[in-house]
Amino acid sequence: MSPSSERRPGVLRRVFAVMADPRTVLANYIDDLAWPAALAVPALAFGLLFLQSGLDLERNGASEGVAGLALLGVLLGVVVVPVTALVAWILVLPFDRSRSLGWAVRAFALAYSPALIYGVCGLLANVILGWNTAVAFGVTGVLWAISPLFAALREMSGDRRRLSLVLATVVGAAVLAVWAVAVGA
């Protein structure tokens, strides 16, 4: 079987695989990932995070407009992730140029797969069990994205681990700060 005819895993399978073994998925299964599919991951992940935040606020009597917050989350997912990927890509350019900007954006987008999985689980717990889940599931999901981000940065920087650690930490802190400011946490 030629490499071109090799069966590629679907987007959903890649989303779950990123959580288990991010480096293998990011190294091998990013190039053929369509832009809309890639950006749908952070859009949905952030949308679910902000939706849970809105539901929590409404339950605690501090209504902020649940639908508006969810839409803001989708928008931030589509905007913030490519911007952080762009900044990280520029910062690692002096060290390694083997990965394109397009690859970086798609890898950063797919890195939020764990946040998407946690977001779905958190929304179910929020709606069915009535729990406050924005921090327990939402923020935990965003934290789990650090590991794939670290893997993506290692790929982009020619396996410079300390640089990748620092950048993954900064990106994680920036995303948490954006969420905290947006929902007033």
Partner: protein, 166 residues
């Protein structure tokens, strides 16, 4: 000035970063035990020691099940791989500091638990990259991370109960 011949290897760099990360988590945990300011220093020391002690069972288990890696790379290869993988814990610890001190959240437990599981899983995968079985090492890593996070939760619950009844 003569340049020092001693330079930090990647492995020692990871060890120092990891130790600082565990020390930071220990320092953040300390005020839950005691309110005295010096408790944070004590907590940082205990955290740094715990970071060394907690990795030992993970290293030992991965050494036990990876005969091929053991033969080709020895214990030091597995030790370095586990250290490199567990470097993933560092961002979680830093973000815990930002969340607790910067945002004033009470979020140490979810941050530490996620960091322990991510670090242990990454350690298993790093050993797999040396020639071990991917799924087996990942499962051992994640299981160890889960065990570590359970231990963490139990300690936190005991601390809270001790404060409630103390």
């Amino acid at each position: 000035m003569a340049k020092s011949s001693k330079t930090l290897s990647p492995a020692s760099g990871h060890a120092m970063l990891r130790m600082l990360a565990f020390a930071a988590v220990g320092a953040l945990m300390a005020p839950r035990f005691a309110e005295e300011p010096e408790a944070m220093v004590f907590g940082a020391v205990i955290g740094a020691i715990a970071g060394v002690v907690l990795l030992a069972p993970l290293r030992w288990l991965l050494w036990l099940v990876n005969a091929k890696v053991r033969k080709e790379h020895g214990y030091s290869g597995i030790r370095k791989a586990v250290g490199a993988g567990f470097a993933t814990f560092v961002p979680f610890a830093f973000l815990a500091v930002v969340a607790e001190i910067g945002f004033g959240w009470d979020a140490l437990t979810p941050f530490a638990m996620a960091g322990l599981m991510a670090g242990a899983g990454a350690a298993g995968l790093e050993v797999a990259r040396l020639g071990g079985h991917r799924i087996l090492n990942l499962v051992i890593g994640v299981a160890c991370g889960f065990g570590l996070s359970i231990v963490w939760t139990m300690v936190m619950v005991m601390v809270q109960e001790a404060h409630a009844f103390g």
